[in-house]
């Protein structure tokens, strides 16, 4: 055998063995916003997923098989996201995770639906699960579950009569604006300023001025991370002293980091927080920080728990079969005692929406401080 033959034989052996691993693994595709306006969302989600997959594979995988993930970048662009979803379908993966932007998810989920591939998402727009797509599952609250809680806080705790809404003009922002306006109207609170802003907006002088001129009792800010930070800075700059309320993003780790002092005092309803008074959540935070050198935001938790939810559903289905998996997901209830990786007890309904405890947090001294724990609607 010449050295050349030996090399060829070794390469063939290596290829064959990696092919065997690939065939034996549970292959999932992850389509994330790794660049563009959603970079914070996608990067956190990806890191959370990787951490969970590493842990699961180290403890023997699911149903005896390791999980193998391939991440790709949607560039926060719905067109790219749809193409990547098509590629994931062509690759015949078992499940797809992402994208996290509602606008991207709205167009990419038709691909996974057509191929009957389960699709987990961190996208929060109400429309995602309202279309009756049986293959879509959330990793966080949808706006239909979270906005009524926000409206209740504004009406009952803050006793506000009028609200100015600053929202980002994309599917996520518009969905949230519609839901919160509807929920507020039901409680007799009037939206006196409805202020639309562009994604990636740099200067919030005019929107904040409009909010100030409306003289509303509360300002509700519903944008993506970078815009939220800029809005908070401008609110502080213009000396707006009314309560600033948001949902999840407004008090996220990245927003606090970017907005600095201006984030203090902002209040938000948040489905997931690494500062939640839940020991498993604190442990997750420590593990994540050790692995990546920064504190994750809610998207990191979505990615991490999403993979563990998939594991629990696979174990419930008992086999690597998409139809059985989807059936298992639609009535799934996982307690943190039974599967510590989900961090908090969680249940899914037949639309793919999830339910669990949530929190009301305020930013104090640059940190999220949990003010109240809001119970899940359907307790175990």
């Amino acid at each position: 055998m010449t050295p050349m033959h030996r090399t060829l034989a070794a390469t063939a052996l290596w290829l064959a063995s990696s092919l065997a691993v690939a065939q034996n693994a549970i292959r999932i595709a992850s389509l994330q916003e790794l660049s563009g306006t959603g970079a914070t969302v996608g990067t956190n989600f990806r890191n959370g997923m990787d951490l969970a997959i590493k842990e699961i594979n180290a403890s023997g995988g699911v149903l005896g098989k390791p999980i193998q993930v391939s991440h790709s970048d949607t560039q926060s662009n719905p067109g790219v996201a749809k193409g990547l979803a098509q590629k994931a379908v062509d690759d015949d993966v078992f499940a797809v995770f992402g994208p996290g932007y509602s606008g991207s998810m709205a167009v990419s989920m038709s691909e996974t639906r057509r191929a009957q591939i389960p699709n987990f998402t961190g996208a929060e727009a109400a429309a995602i699960t309202a279309q009756g797509n049986p293959y879509v599952f959330r990793t966080s609250f949808g706006q239909a579950s979270s906005m009524p809680k926000v409206a209740r806080y504004i009406a009952h705790n803050l006793k506000a009569k009028t609200v100015a809404v600053i929202f980002v003009n994309n599917d996520f922002g518009k969905g949230g604006r519609d839901m919160v306006t509807q929920a507020l109207a039901g409680l007799g609170v009037k939206v006196v300023a409805d202020i639309s802003t562009d994604p990636g907006k740099l200067d919030f002088a005019a929107p904040v001025l409009q909010a100030r001129q409306s003289n509303a009792d509360v300002v509700f800010v519903y944008t993506n991370e970078e815009e939220a930070a800029r809005a908070l800075r401008e609110i502080r700059k213009q000396g707006l002293s009314k309560p600033i309320v948001g949902e999840t993003v407004l008090t996220g780790q990245k927003v606090i980091e970017l907005a600095g002092e201006a984030a203090n005092g902002a209040v938000a309803h948040i489905g997931l927080s690494v500062d939640a008074p839940v020991p498993a959540m604190r442990a997750f935070r420590a593990k994540f920080e050790k692995a990546y050198g920064y504190i994750p935001d809610h998207n990191g938790i979505k990615g991490y728990t999403g993979v563990y939810v998939m594991k629990a559903a696979l174990q419930k289905a008992g086999k690597l079969d998409r139809a059985a998996f989807v059936k298992a997901m639609h009535s799934l209830k996982v307690s943190a005692a039974q599967e510590p990786g989900v961090l908090m007890d969680v249940s899914f309904d037949d639309k793919g929406d999830l339910d669990r405890d949530s929190f009301l947090v305020e930013v104090q001294g640059g940190k999220q401080v949990v003010k109240e724990v809001l119970p899940a609607l359907n307790k175990f």
């Binding site: 790794l34 660049s35 563009g36 970079a39 914070t40 990067t43 003009n169 202020i195 639309s196 802003t197 562009d198 740099l202 200067d203 002088a205 005019a206 929107p207 001025l209 409009q210 100030r212 001129q213 991370e225 970078e226 930070a229 800029r230 800075r233 502080r236 700059k237 213009q238 000396g239 990245k254 980091e257 970017l258 600095g260 002092e261 201006a262």
Partner: protein, 291 residues
């Protein structure tokens, strides 16, 4: 009324930053006939350099000084030797395409090599607020305004009052005559590139606290600065300041009193109006050319 003044002030501060980038456009055009479409990335890169030096433990101002040094070397000398010198003799188009390519390369280089996420950037003027008769003004806005005016005035004075500055103007007007007069033309052109690099660093220092350090932060800035330079007059440095402030203020006023949705269109409309009715810009002068 206080709201109007507030909008005027914050618009002027934003406009002053456009002006710094616009000044870079006009300087390069005057001295070497180059249009640099990577001007926005020339602001983005120093922002990350400053963050880098800052992370090494240097205070912000020291980071700025070091960044200026590196920028003169890379964005001044490197850009001149690597792109402007070899391509200029083939006319304007290759330079335009090359700088467009350079901007894409720089943007994606930072995205892939560092991070696609926005990074916070400390303000050199702190986070203070001033209350003046119902007006709330940030120290950062006032500082930005002051610094930008000083830089533009300083550049003007340098060009008009010093021997080197006059020599640079001579080169801009006619390189052949300047050579005959004994002026070291390549050196003067290098000085222009170096000044452009330092102005970009200053713009980065002033703009990044508000824009946040991100690989694509230069995209919008360069477009606005280009419009500002055209509006003010491409062959006049003071025009850059005027154009920048006009764009910044009218954007802010339009966003508040017309619709926030049309904010970005304002600069474009002004630009188109100017090209149609006064192509030399507000302070620019007509140049006759033999064809």
């Amino acid at each position: 009324m206080t709201d109007f003044i507030q909008l005027l002030l914050s618009g002027t501060a934003t406009g002053a930053i456009y002006a710094l980038a616009a000044l870079g456009f006009t300087l390069l055009w005057q001295a070497s006939g180059t249009i640099n479409f990577a001007q926005g990335e020339f602001v983005m890169l120093p922002a990350f350099m400053m963050l880098g030096f800052n992370a090494l433990g240097l205070p912000l101002l020291a980071s700025f000084v070091f960044t200026c040094g590196v920028a003169v070397l890379v964005l001044g000398w490197g850009f001149k030797r690597g792109i402007a010198d070899p391509l200029l003799r083939f006319g304007m188009m290759p330079i335009v395409v090359a700088t467009l390519g350079l901007s894409i390369a720089m943007r994606n280089g930072v995205r892939a090599g560092y991070s696609a996420e926005a990074q916070p950037f400390p303000s050199v003027f702190g986070e203070g607020l001033l209350q003046v008769g119902g007006l709330t003004v940030t120290v950062a806005d006032l500082g930005t305004l002051g610094a930008a005016f000083l830089l533009v005035a300083g550049t003007q004075a340098f060009l008009a009052r010093t021997v080197t500055g006059r020599a640079m103007q001579a080169v801009a007007q006619n390189a052949d005559s300047a050579t005959v007069l004994g002026i070291d033309v390549p050196r003067m052109v290098f000085y222009t590139f170096a000044i452009n690099a330092v102005l970009a660093c200053a713009a980065a220092l002033l703009v990044t606290p508000a824009y946040l350090a991100k690989f694509d932060m230069g995209e919008g800035l360069a477009t606005k600065a280009f419009f500002a330079a055209i509006i003010g007059g491409f062959n006049n440095s003071r025009g850059a300041l005027l154009g920048g402030v006009i764009v910044g203020v009218s954007e802010n006023l339009a966003a508040a009193y017309v619709s926030a949705a049309y904010k970005d269109a304002v600069a474009l409309v002004l630009f188109m109006g100017m090209i149609l009715f006064k192509p030399q810009g507000l302070l620019g002068r007509k140049i006759e050319r033999k064809v």
